[in-house]
Amino acid sequence: MARVVVDVMPKPEILDPQGQAVANALPRLGFDGITEVRQGKHFELEVADDVDDATLAKIAETFLANPVIEDWVVRRVDA
């Protein structure tokens, strides 16, 4: 088994109102110096050894992310 991380982020040109709301809240809470926040999704998958990178990319591109509005990155990490 291996652990695979998939990070999904809104594309830079797509408005991210959730990230903006977080960014706007920070100064109100007394945290200064944060100029921008983007909010995305982080998936952790436990993957059998025979699942290849092409399959993982397909999972990310066709299901976990919507490439119309989101970018994705697949990483194998040490469990």
Partner: protein, 223 residues
């Protein structure tokens, strides 16, 4: 004339969609998400709600439902399909329509009666309207912001495929004030507002939405 209305777990507006079909003197046929079966219908409505809880992204899981595989195949052969609200999100996730729906720009769930301009009255679902007619129907959604890349937007605008546009203040940050679009062949339409909630004065703000269902009946009878 039989019009299928899909029910997913979490669908809310299937009953109103069926009722709108009946008001247009067509037969409403309930379709179940888990069935690989369209029951011989002439058209399909994918109604609003929160299919599969809208987990992951709105419509992302519903797009893989067994019934949707049949809808995609039939739509690609020219069957008229209407996606309302969550149904619009599902049709975009299924790549039957371009673009995607994202969180409203001001984050609030918007629930109000909304004026729309009918810019394309040549689709299977809009022939009963005058071009540039303004209609008033409910809008109720939290993720109704229409997004697409510039190339796609230019294509939609250039080919007259923006069917409905918001009138007045943009309610959700949709690019180009887009409320609804159509496929290249004009058979598939998706929109965020709810025509099925505006089919008679007793239960809706207007009867402006009924024209979409009457238009469908016209287009199927003609075909």
């Amino acid at each position: 004339m039989r019009v299928g209305v899909i029910t997913f777990p979490g669908t809310l507006d299937d009953v109103d969609a069926q009722r709108a079909v009946k008001y247009a003197d067509a037969e409403a046929v309930p379709l179940w998400h888990a069935d690989h079966d369209l029951k011989g219908v002439d058209a399909v409505i994918v109604p609003g709600g929160f299919s599969y809880g809208d987990y992951l992204r709105c419509g992302a899981i519903a797009r893989f439902a067994p019934v949707m595989q049949e809808v995609i195949e039939a739509a690609n052969k020219g069957m008229p399909v209407l996606g309302i609200c969550n149904g619009f999100q599902i049709l975009c996730e299924a790549h039957l329509l371009p673009g995607a729906l994202t969180r409203n720009s001001k984050l609030h769930f918007v629930c109000r009666d909304q004026w729309l301009k009918v810019e394309n009255n040549q689709t299977a679902w809009t022939t009963r309207y005058d071009k540039d007619a303004e209609i008033l129907v409910p809008l109720k959604s939290g993720e109704g912001g229409y997004q697409a890349d510039q190339h796609t937007l230019d294509e939609l605008e250039g080919e007259g495929r923006v069917v409905f546009r918001y009138v007045g203040e943009n309610p959700n940050g949709s690019r180009n004030n887009i409320a609804g679009i159509t496929s290249a062949n004009g058979r598939i339409v998706g929109l965020m507002p709810h025509p099925e909630h505006a089919i008679e004065a007793l239960t809706g703000p207007t009867d402006d939405g009924l024209g979409m269902f009457l238009s469908l009946v016209d287009s199927v009878v003609k075909a």
